[in-house]
Symmetry: C2
Subunit: 202 residues, 2 copies
């Protein structure tokens, strides 16, 4: 692991453990096994460190969504499973998503994070509407602007209730709701099958 990433991972672990306000630069340097001077060279402030974590989380989670699929809605189901797996295994993703719901100093970065995310998901819903996969009077903007918060809430409450042990079954219920709400009748059974197959964890 290169030095910069090593520092980001250490920062992510501290942010995830105690939150932004309580994170001390000295503790991050100690955890990363670097001198404070080295840390300051890469990230001059705690804010720079937090923005670095959010950016990196952004890149890693977007990478999961970037592949397309013959079925746009199936691609979203798969992406949500990919992000759920990252939340369990990748401290940068876990911390980035946690930071993105804090406010204050990095409210700007955070708000643009959600705009990007929602924008990306809106594009997929637009494809899904165009492909005839959906039957709904909700627009692509409304769908993207609602499914991203739905996922956000499901993963947060799963964290609080079970340390994310129940995240996969909770996402399966979320997608069953979404499929029943918006899938065209001809695609419903196939999409419910995709959901069951993707989250067959019980």
């Amino acid at each position: 692991m290169e030095r910069r990433e090593q520092i980001l991972v250490a920062a992510a672990e501290e942010f995830d453990r105690v939150g932004y306000a309580a994170t001390a630069i000295a503790a991050v340097a100690r955890r990363a096994g670097v001198a404070q001077g080295t840390l300051h060279f890469h990230f001059p402030t705690k804010l720079a460190l937090a923005l670095g974590v959010i950016d990196e989380q952004n890149a890693r989670t977007f990478a999961v969504v970037s592949h397309t699929d013959a079925s746009p809605l199936a691609a979203l189901v798969g992406a949500s499973k990919g992000i759920a797996d990252l939340l369990r295994t990748d401290p940068i993703v876990r911390a980035g998503i946690r930071l993105s719901l804090e406010r204050g100093e990095f409210a700007g970065a955070t708000s643009s994070f959600y705009e990007q995310w929602i924008g990306g998901i809106v594009d997929v819903f637009r494809l899904a509407l165009g492909s005839g996969e959906l039957s709904t009077d909700l627009t692509a903007e409304e769908l993207g602007g609602s499914v991203v918060p739905y996922f956000t809430g499901v993963q947060l409450v799963a964290e609080v209730r079970s340390g994310r042990a129940d995240l996969d079954p909770a996402l399966a219920v979320m997608w069953r709701m979404v499929v029943h709400a918006i899938a065209a009748p001809a695609h419903r059974e196939r999409l419910l099958g995709v959901v069951a197959e993707t989250f067959r964890t019980r």
Copy 2:
């Protein structure tokens, strides 16, 4: 306002502004206009203060849901509007919901907060299933366990994106999704009407 509530409101404003870790007892006492000794008499620790805010938020939000309705799903739509209004106007509700997503010291209180909430909403979904208002293969437990996180995510992302200015239209989209997903055909139009009527803010 009695002394104890005055302190809780001041604490809520500080928690909401800077989060738990960065909140200083001295700042809360100053904001409440009481001596630190008085504050310590009512709340011996910062944790006690946070738990007091969470408890009070819990009581205030539950009060909004407690009234029943001929239509269980319409009662939930109304309750979500009531909570949205409290989020905009009541610092204790705002701070309590924020604290309930932090972790660490009060993870226990927080997790039981969600269990109570989900339990209450599950009961309403059970009534809705019994009344024939719904047509779904999801259980009351799955519905309550998914709609509470959905609301949580919608209000959080609305806070990040617009300082909650867009919360009402976002909740309207959420309920349109839920109604399309689970309402019995005979009740669908009526329930969509309830949603439109409840959130007619544009």
